[in-house]
């Protein structure tokens, strides 16, 4: 589904990703772990198409298409979803209104008719229950006055509504208490299918107690330096990132 080959990316002239390669197939959950500054969030931003980052070399194909050629919105419509590390507050724009627009733009892209108001509301009800998001939050302005946990649950709610092929969770566990973590994780697990894939970017192992990855990659200094199964995460937690640095 996603194939990243020898990706180099920089911001303001500083190279962050230095030859990253990664392949994700449908049905798989991948976790990327790494110390601060390794390039984890840069990878997420580059996948979503954030214009602050410049890809200097390498390739990303998504469903056999050149992802780097696509605009931010095209990537989303093709099925790439980024759950933000720091969800944005947008006063005056209601959560449901924005989601309705998003869903219908995606449907139009796929040649599907717009969702009726009734079907849309049914979907909101169903999916907000999945992440235990209060229905009143769904109708409020995007993330305005939401707690940290509510913001993250709102990200997973949006993911549930948009049904992406590839979900990239950028440090979704940061700032979450145990209960919120469990709700977010169970949302992700419920949405898992043979057709879609998930890339979990995290600093800590604890999220991986709830979302069991098929592969764990260690990102260090802009490259993947180690790949293994879920036990790698435990090993990292135990030995710390210095262990990777010494392996290097």
């Amino acid at each position: 589904m996603l194939k990243i080959t020898d990706l180099h990316a920089s911001i303001n002239g500083t190279e962050i990703l230095k030859g990253l390669s990664l392949e994700i197939k449908a049905g798989e959950i991948h976790a990327i772990m790494g110390p601060n500054g390794a390039g984890k969030s840069t990878l997420a931003s580059v996948l979503a198409g954030k214009e602050d980052y410049e890809v200097t070399s390498g390739a990303i194909t998504f469903e056999d298409q050149d992802l780097l050629e696509m605009s931010i919105e095209e990537r989303a419509r093709e099925g790439v979803f980024l759950a933000f590390q720091y969800p944005v507050e947008i006063p005056g724009v209601s959560n449901v209104n924005f989601l309705k627009t998003a869903i219908n733009e995606i449907r139009e892209h796929k040649g599907l008719p717009a969702l009726s108001a009734k079907d849309f509301l049914r979907l909101v009800k169903e999916k907000s229950a999945l992440v235990d998001l209060d229905a009143s939050l769904a109708s409020r302005a995007v993330n305005e006055g939401f707690s940290g946990g509510e913001k993250k649950r709102n990200e997973i709610f949006q993911m549930a509504m948009l049904e992406p092929k590839l979900a990239v969770l950028d440090e979704t566990d940061s700032g979450l208490d145990i209960d919120a973590l469990r709700i977010v994780a169970s949302g992700v697990n419920t949405l898992k299918s043979k057709e879609n894939a998930t890339l979990v970017i995290t600093h800590y192992q604890r999220l991986l107690d709830h979302i069991i990855p098929d592969f764990v990659h260690v990102l260090y200094d802009g490259k993947i330096v180690k790949t293994g199964g879920k036990e790698l995460a435990l090993e990292l937690e135990e030995k710390g990132y210095d262990w990777i640095k010494s392996v290097e």
């Binding site: 979503a48 198409g49 954030k50 214009e51 605009s71 931010i72 919105e73 990537r75 989303a76 419509r77 979803f81 980024l82 933000f84 969800p87 944005v88 947008i90 006063p91 005056g92 724009v93 209104n97 924005f98 989601l99 627009t101 998003a102 869903i103 733009e105 995606i106 892209h109 302005a141 949006q158 948009l162």
Partner: protein, 400 residues
């Protein structure tokens, strides 16, 4: 320098209003003393050039004195369209007259300030005089429509709205149509009686090279409430002057405004709130979005007089510039002579929130639509305060 103010007024007919002699004399003295249109060296016009206005060749609009009656609708309609004015049948407790029919005594409370008001006093072709009796609550909103058309037209109107004690009314005002090389100078005097409540929404959306000067003067008595929402959308040239006189205790004033400009539009909002009495509140919130080479002005002034203790005055102005060539000059001003007041003011100008734009696009929404959504979201506070369904509908059509 183009023509003098006297020349400008000569193109127009002498006033159709029976103004007190002293007031007319003051207006004559005013244009003679001022002589030319003010330049940008004069503070109130620092950011608004009047050269093009001074050069306008105008034909006055001669408005028929007696209104043609309109059929009943869900609003009490008053329409100014070219040289005619129409109005609905008044209902119980409501009186609608031609302002030219009012006796001189009806204008006693008027004062004149600046060349816009001087021109208005000398050349007003009429206007509507609305009176709501004391203790009357109007169920239907009053809708005043100015439908502008033609070229080189000069429309000068002086409206008066008097709300008796404990009366309550809602007004919606429209400026629409297409008009080229034209001038409109429309003045409203609002007299809000004790305990009375007036909610007014105004939409300015005239197309063409139209120069619109809009003045609203509000005189508030004890415990009265006045709310005005001024919405300006893509007008070539608009100057709004709102002046509130809070004369007695317990008044509440809300001045909200939203303006959207594009191309070479110029939209100028001047407000002045006089807190002359204690225990009053005022809440001011103006938001602007300017694209292309549009220019905007916000100058909001709040003056708290010496005896006006326990005033709570809030003022905010926020602007978004969508292009490098758009500009805004913002000037919030506070003048406080009392020592026990709560006042705040602030102004910010920035670009569209790039994080929010990225977020919306990352959910599959096109850049254009995402931009529209953010602008709409930015304006939501102001638009949400509009009660007029007609204006709400017009705004949704404009912003979608």
């Amino acid at each position: 320098m183009s023509g003098t103010l006297i020349d400008f007024c000569k193109q127009l007919e002498p006033t159709a209003l029976k103004l007190p002699a002293a007031l007319l004399q003051a207006a004559r003295d005013g244009v003679e003393f001022q002589h030319h249109f003010p330049t940008t060296r004069e503070e109130p016009w620092k950011y608004t050039r009047l050269g093009r206005v001074a050069a306008l060749k105008l034909t006055p609009v001669n408005i028929n004195q007696s209104a043609e009656r309109l059929p009943a609708s869900d609003t009490i309609d008053i329409i100014f369209e070219h040289e005619t004015w129409h109005c609905a049948e008044p209902t119980a407790g409501l009186h609608i007259d031609f302002s030219g029919d009012l006796d001189a005594s009806a204008w006693n409370a008027c004062t004149l300030q600046g060349h816009v008001q001087h021109i208005n006093a000398l050349s007003a072709q009429g206007g509507v005089a609305i009176r709501v009796d004391a203790n009357t609550t109007l169920i239907k909103p009053i809708r005043i429509i100015h439908r502008l058309q033609g070229e080189h037209t000069g429309l000068i109107l002086h409206h008066q709205l008097v709300l008796g004690n404990h009366a309550s009314a809602q007004v919606e005002v429209f400026f629409e149509g297409t008009s080229e090389d034209s001038y409109a100078n429309v003045l409203f005097d609002f007299f809000i009686g004790a305990g009375a409540n007036l909610h007014a929404d105004m939409l300015q959306q005239t197309k063409g090279t139209h120069y619109g000067f809009h003045t609203q003067r509000i005189y508030q008595q004890k415990d009265s409430t006045f709310a005005l929402q001024t919405l300006t959308a893509n007008t070539h040239f608009t100057r709004n002057e709102v002046e509130v006189f809070s004369q007695e205790e317990g008044t509440h004033t809300q001045l909200y405004g939203a303006f959207i400009g594009r191309e070479n539009n110029h939209i100028d909002n001047h407000t002045y709130v006089h807190h002359k009495a204690p225990n009053c509140t005022s809440d001011e919130n103006y938001k602007g979005v300017l694209a292309d080479k549009a220019t905007g002005v916000f100058n909001g002034k709040v003056k708290v007089y010496q005896d006006a203790q326990k005033i709570n005055a809030y003022q905010s102005n926020k602007n978004i510039l969508l292009s490098d060539s758009a500009s805004i000059n913002a000037k919030p001003e506070l003048e406080i002579y009392a020592d026990d007041v709560k006042c705040s003011h602030g102004s910010t100008t920035g670009q569209l929130d790039q994080h929010a734009l990225f977020f919306l696009r990352a959910r599959g929404i096109s850049e254009t639509k995402a931009t529209d959504m953010l602008i709409k979201g930015f304006m939501a506070e102001i638009v949400g305060a509009v009660k007029s369904i007609h204006i709400q509908e017009a705004l949704h059509a404009l912003l979608d």
